[in-house]
């Protein structure tokens, strides 16, 4: 499954809820304010293990718009909108955590 998270974890608990719920084949895509969690020293411990397994993506345009391109946590994979579409196609059901 693909899980999208669109809120910063300073604002909502959606990333935490998502991490508590997902199985070990799911991947996470951070979009909109969700990309804040992809910045170093924010929530990196929360998602570090998952990122190390190559299962955390962030939407490049949203990362750039928030000025965190140079502050990304390790192993976060950047995708553009075409990459977003590919993730939706590859991972069956999409769950939107809002």
């Amino acid at each position: 499954m693909l899980h999208t998270v669109n809120k910063s974890s300073f604002e909502r608990n959606s990333l935490k809820s998502c991490l508590n719920t997902i199985d070990n084949t799911s991947v996470i895509l951070l979009i909109e304010d969700g990309v804040i969690s992809a910045a170093k020293n924010t929530n990196s411990p929360m998602i570090a293990d998952l990122a190390a397994q190559g299962r955390v993506y962030a939407l490049q345009g949203d990362v750039e718009a928030r000025g965190i391109s140079s502050k990304l946590a390790d192993n976060i994979k950047l995708v553009d909108y075409a990459g977003f579409v590919d993730l939706v196609v590859e991972h069956g059901t999409t769950v939107s955590w809002v």
Binding site: N6, D80, Y81, V85, V88, V89, G92, T94, V98
Partner: protein
């Protein structure tokens, strides 16, 4: 692949409609079919034909219209939830006349219909992606 989209937030207030639009555009460019876009809750405000942003800003409503998402019969598949729309003063010609109101504001590239259209989109499509708050 057949993909449908649900949008729960209005334009300019929230990024949902912009993200969904960029997603839909990328999907079409990749050769996928956008079966339906369902505008729900405040998302119905994406269908106002009176939307007039400043000249140097994107027009979210026209952007959706220009994607030309239609079915084989040529009907628009940008579908606005009727209950959410009427509550917010979003009316097409038929709803306006039915309710004795002298104007309508739904863009012609959109159509008003019921929640069943969202369920049908979920059944008919390979993927349903939700954007909102």
């Amino acid at each position: 692949m057949k993909i449908s989209i649900q949008i729960n937030e209005g334009p300019y207030q929230h990024q949902a409609s912009d993200t969904a639009y960029q997603f839909a555009k990328a999907a079409i460019e990749k050769g996928h079919e956008i079966f339906r876009v369902f505008f729900y809750h405040d998302g119905v405000n994406n269908a106002s034909r009176f939307t007039l942003p400043p000249q140097d800003d994107r027009n979210v409503v026209n952007q959706w219209a220009e994607l030309g998402i239609k079915n084989v019969d040529g009907e628009p598949e940008l579908v606005v939830c009727i209950a959410a729309a009427l509550r917010r003063g979003m009316l097409d010609e038929s709803e306006a006349s039915k309710n004795g109101i002298d104007g309508n504001n739904i863009h012609p590239a959109f159509r008003i219909s019921g929640l069943g259209q969202l369920i049908e989109a979920g059944i008919q499509s390979d993927r349903l992606v939700v954007f909102g708050d």
